[in-house]
Amino acid sequence: MYKLIGVFCILAGCAGWGNTKAAMEKERVRHLRTLFHILGQMRGEVSYGKHTLPEICLLLSELNDDRYKTCFSRIYEQTREENGGDFLKVWETEMGNCLEGLLLREDERETMTGLPKTLNFREEGGQSERIGLAEAFLEGRYRQAEETYENRSKMIRSVSILTGLLLAMILL
């Protein structure tokens, strides 16, 4: 009886580990998708709405959930005229905090945190073009990550269950 319970626990633990791993990959896909959507929204607001960057942050805080909502509303609050914060610095700090702990690669993180540095703040076409470049980069990473997730998630789950079985057999 105890052996059976032990086998069950090992199998459940390994399956859980596999699921967690797969879920982490899924999270990465989700965040990459959100980020490139955010850049798409930004580009649209620059070229169509001709909103200022702090105003765009306000709109983005209304359009997005959880951590992104907080991040953009904080950027807006600090850079609005009343508070007068330097957009570059505020964006870098807040975006850095927002992306901290996420399963993103360094260059993906830098694309977002360093975005205002690549903008010239001057010309609408150039501005949206540069946002478009960052968007295309993250979209490429998103597609890649999605493909990887689809291929690897099944494999991770299978391997984790097989590992569990093997471990149980060894221990028995």
Binding site: E81, F121, R122
Partner: protein, 315 residues
């Protein structure tokens, strides 16, 4: 006019330096930056200077001399790090910021292929004109622009800095809310330079009355027709007529039964009669009242009110 509003014109990093100037917010009229030249402010019709520590001094020798980076930082802040969003305004040499304050810019002009102004680069001169909403500014005019309870089409005439926009803003507010001479009516405002209502995120920062609709940032000629079609105004208000297109749109608006409130640069009725497009307006009798304002004594005041034929109502 609050101190905070003046401080908002500057990036957070340099705000401490502007506290003494901001303390004079009520009388503050202009802040002038010229690269390498003394930093000056106009307070209660008197030119003063600002030193490195932000103290107001009388002598230009003691004043701070701004460097190009300082100006660029201020411009970036005023444009909310989005110069592209103000490109059309910068092309015209100014931009209007939250609160309706107008920032005049000068530097090196970039032309497009057809010789038109495309941009201004190396912005080295800034003139921050502080807008003040003066409630009651239109009080001396109100009795003369109503006839049997209805407002008459009125043109305000004054040289730059003569108080046209301040008076127009208060006229709009009073006409919209109603006065002892007439009930409140629907007023539509084409606020091309965001100076009248000082809209921010589409919401007027100045009090323009309870029956006022504002079309912000729209060219006057297009805006007037759009508002007539969409908002059915009884009174249409625009600031600074400056072209034949504006006048043509105004004429069409007048033909639709709207009363008009407008302003134009000029020292006197004679002076504006010499402008081609204004002569046409005056001949057509588009306005029933002309109000001439001036600032000769340092205070904005009404120097004459004339009827549609140019005869004085008071003088």
């Amino acid at each position: 006019m609050r101190q905070e509003e003046v401080l908002c014109l500057f990036p957070e990093r340099v705000r401490d330096r502007w506290r003494e100037v901001a303390a004079c917010a009520e009388g503050l009229q202009e802040i002038r930056f010229r690269v390498g030249m003394p930093l000056s402010v106009w307070i209660e019709n008197r030119e003063r200077f600002v030193d490195e520590q932000g103290k107001i001094v009388d002598r230009p020798e003691k004043a701070a001399r701004p460097v190009p980076e300082e100006l660029e930082e201020v411009v970036k802040h005023l444009c909310r790090y989005s110069v592209y969003a103000f490109a059309d305004e910068i092309r015209q040499g100014f931009l209007t910021v939250q609160g309706g304050h107008r920032i005049g810019l000068a530097g090196q002009v970039v032309l497009d292929g057809e010789g038109r102004i495309k941009n201004i680069k190396y912005i080295r001169y800034l003139n921050i004109r502080i807008a003040h909403q003066v409630r009651g500014a239109a009080d001396p005019v109100i009795p003369h622009i109503f006839e049997e309870g209805r407002v008459m089409s009125t043109l305000l005439v004054s040289p730059p800095g003569g108080g046209k926009t301040t008076m127009l803003r208060d006229l709009i507010r009073q006409v919209s809310e109603g006065t002892a001479y007439g009930d409140g009516v629907n007023v539509s405002v084409v606020d091309e330079r965001s100076e009248i209502a000082g809209s921010y995120l589409g919401v007027p920062q100045n009090d323009v009355g309870i029956r006022t609709d504002v079309l912000d940032g729209c060219p006057k000629a297009e805006g007037m027709m759009l508002l007539i079609r969409s908002m059915a105004p009884q009174v249409l208000a625009v600031d600074e007529l400056g072209s034949i297109e504006d006048v043509q749109a105004l004429q069409m608006a007048g033909g639709c039964g709207c009363r008009l409130l407008a302003t134009v640069h000029g020292g006197s009725l004679e002076e504006i009669r010499h402008k081609n497009y204004m002569r046409y307006v005056m001949e057509k009798g588009l306005f029933e009242r002309y109000v001439v304002l001036d600032r000769r004594t340092g205070v904005c005041q009404v120097t004459g009110i004339y009827d549609g034929e140019g005869k004085p109502c008071i003088n």
